[in-house]
């Protein structure tokens, strides 16, 4: 099994609907259906939208000094707006699930395999 992170990219001009509106309820229902099916199939690990890029703080540590910048790390046309973490047998299965996300229809979904990091204690002895 491989863990895949779906990075959800939207258009910068995309306005999310306000809570209480019909559009908001529709969005909730669509996302609920997509992630519900993933949970049902046992592939979903986590899924969440992110606050807008303007709310981001980018950090780096150089020579022991922590540097902070307001905003996202890279200026790109699309906005990284959320993520979904799944565990699938292979890329084909991950791609099939990614295509069911509402974000795939309005924006883009980048499918990135997650590196399996083995903690030292878990390594086989010898």
């Amino acid at each position: 099994m491989v863990k895949y992170l779906f990075l959800l990219y939207g258009r910068p001009d995309e306005q999310l609907p306000e809570p209480g509106t019909e559009a908001f309820d529709r969005m909730r229902a669509e996302w609920g259906a997509a992630t519900g099916a993933m949970a049902q199939a046992g592939v979903l690990i986590d899924c969440a939208p992110l606050q807008p890029p303007a709310a981001a703080t980018t950090l780096s540590v150089r020579n022991g000094e922590t540097l902070l910048t307001d905003g996202p790390a890279a200026e790109i046309k699309e906005h990284f707006g959320g993520y979904t973490l799944v565990e699938c047998a292979d890329l084909d299965e991950a791609l099939r699930w990614a295509a069911t996300l509402p974000a795939a229809e309005v924006g883009k979904v980048e499918v990135r395999p997650v590196v399996q990091v083995v903690a030292p204690a878990e390594q086989p002895a010898g």
Binding site: V2, Y4, C88, A89, D90, L91, D92, A94, L95, R96, V111, P113, P124
Partner: protein, 398 residues
């Protein structure tokens, strides 16, 4: 000598060790071992079984040496415990299909799919592939390494796609085979020998796919299209290396056996009643091969077939070809109307064939100045050398 077994061997070993790159290196090692052993110790009863069995051991040796792949070794060793007849290793049909579906996975860069298929499925060397695509060998090596790394890192599975994915994935495979062929066919001028090799490889691939997937009409359609097109190979170039247009080709130099096979395949494919773009293109090629002389060509049928092709692939190229067929059946003016309506397409304006087709129609209409301008526009786009020579000749012949 080993190329006939390459596909099966790489497929079988990849299935067993779960890594394409490792399998390929191991098969390469096994071929080297065969070169050293067979002449001295005699030919094995099953060369393919010998190669697969030996490559498998070589792969396991490499795994043992490579500690970073510890868990994969454990897996492969467990399988190793299963009983098997010595030297009796075979590759299943599914393994061979899994290999080509992996190499043509849509998650890979399209140029890399073509290169990887030529390397892993056909067994061409990196140097040969680099020469065929006119890129430096290190560039091609890098492209192959990157593609194989992506397969491993992204978790592209080594298997035949399920029924839901099959149509799209098969289309990607057929596209790669088609591209291998056109790369060899279109630019027959430079390095004709290597280029001919690409056409041969594409036909081998299509033939093998037709054997593996006999009930897929598009696979038969593609094989038919390649055979019918390649049957004209010898007639396409004059002794001086100039391009000879279809209408001017010596039809006696067409390969009759290939045409017969291609025509039979088109008929068999169309009987499946699941038409597709390759079957339609093969049917068009069959219209040409079935005409005893250029004048006997059924242009009305060809125009209809191009109309059909546009339903699958609405490309300006197909529309331009339809225009030529219409011009042949209804007169140059009718064809010119179609060409002029699509001439505004920016992609097409950079395509020499559009200007050549316009030039020929204008010529037939006696509109000399406009025809010359169209020939010059085609030459300005720097088509391959044989076409350039042909255009210069056409302008002189007026």
């Amino acid at each position: 000598m080993f190329r006939a077994h390459w596909w099966a061997a790489v497929a079988a070993v990849t299935r067993q060790v779960g890594d394409l790159e490792l399998a390929e290196d191991a098969v390469q090692d096994a071929c080297a071992a065969a070169l050293a052993q067979w002449p001295a110790e005699g030919w094995p009863s099953s060369p393919r079984g010998w190669l697969i069995g030996t490559a498998r051991h070589k792969a396991l040796d490499r795994l043992r040496r490579d500690r970073r792949r510890m868990d994969k070794e454990a897996e492969a060793m467990r399988e190793d415990a299963a009983p098997h007849a010595p030297g009796g290793w075979t590759a299943g049909t599914d393994d061979e299909l899994a290999l080509i579906f992996t190499c043509c996975h849509p998650a890979l860069d399209p140029a890399a799919r073509v290169a990887l298929t030529l390397r892993s499925v056909c067994g061409l060397t990196t140097a040969e592939i680099a020469a065929a695509f006119l890129v430096p060998e290190p560039t091609m090596a890098q492209r192959l390494v990157r593609a194989k790394r992506k397969i491993r890192q992204a978790g592209i599975a080594f298997r035949v796609p399920g029924p839901g994915d099959l149509p799209a994935r098969l289309a990607a495979v057929l596209r790669v085979v088609y591209l291998v062929f056109t790369e060899g066919h279109l630019t027959a001028g430079g390095g004709a020998l290597i280029r001919g090799e690409l056409c041969d490889q594409a036909i081998r691939l299509a033939r093998a796919l037709a054997a593996l997937l006999p009930s897929e009409p598009e696979v038969l359609g593609l094989l038919a299209l390649l055979l019918l097109t390649d049957a004209r190979r010898d007639a396409r170039l004059s002794p001086d290396g100039d391009l000879v247009l279809l209408a001017d080709q010596d039809r006696g130099r067409w390969d009759r056996a290939m045409i017969d096979e291609g025509e039979a395949l088109v008929e068999r494919a169309l009987r499946g009643n699941r038409p597709g773009p390759y079957q339609v293109q093969a049917a068009i090629a069959a219209c040409h091969s079935g005409a005893a002389t250029a004048a006997d060509t059924d242009w009305r049928e060809i125009a209809l077939l191009y109309g059909e092709l546009l339903r699958y692939e609405p490309s300006p190229m197909a529309e331009a070809n339809r225009a030529v067929a219409v011009a042949m059946s209804e007169g140059p003016a009718a064809g010119l109307v179609i060409l002029d309506t699509i001439g505004g397409d920016a992609r097409l304006a950079r395509w020499p064939q559009l200007h050549i087709a316009r030039a020929e129609l204008l010529r037939r209409l006696g509109r000399r100045t406009e025809a010359i301008a169209a020939y010059e526009a085609a030459i300005a786009l720097e088509p391959p050398a044989p076409e350039r020579a042909y255009l210069a000749r056409r302008m002189r012949e007026w």
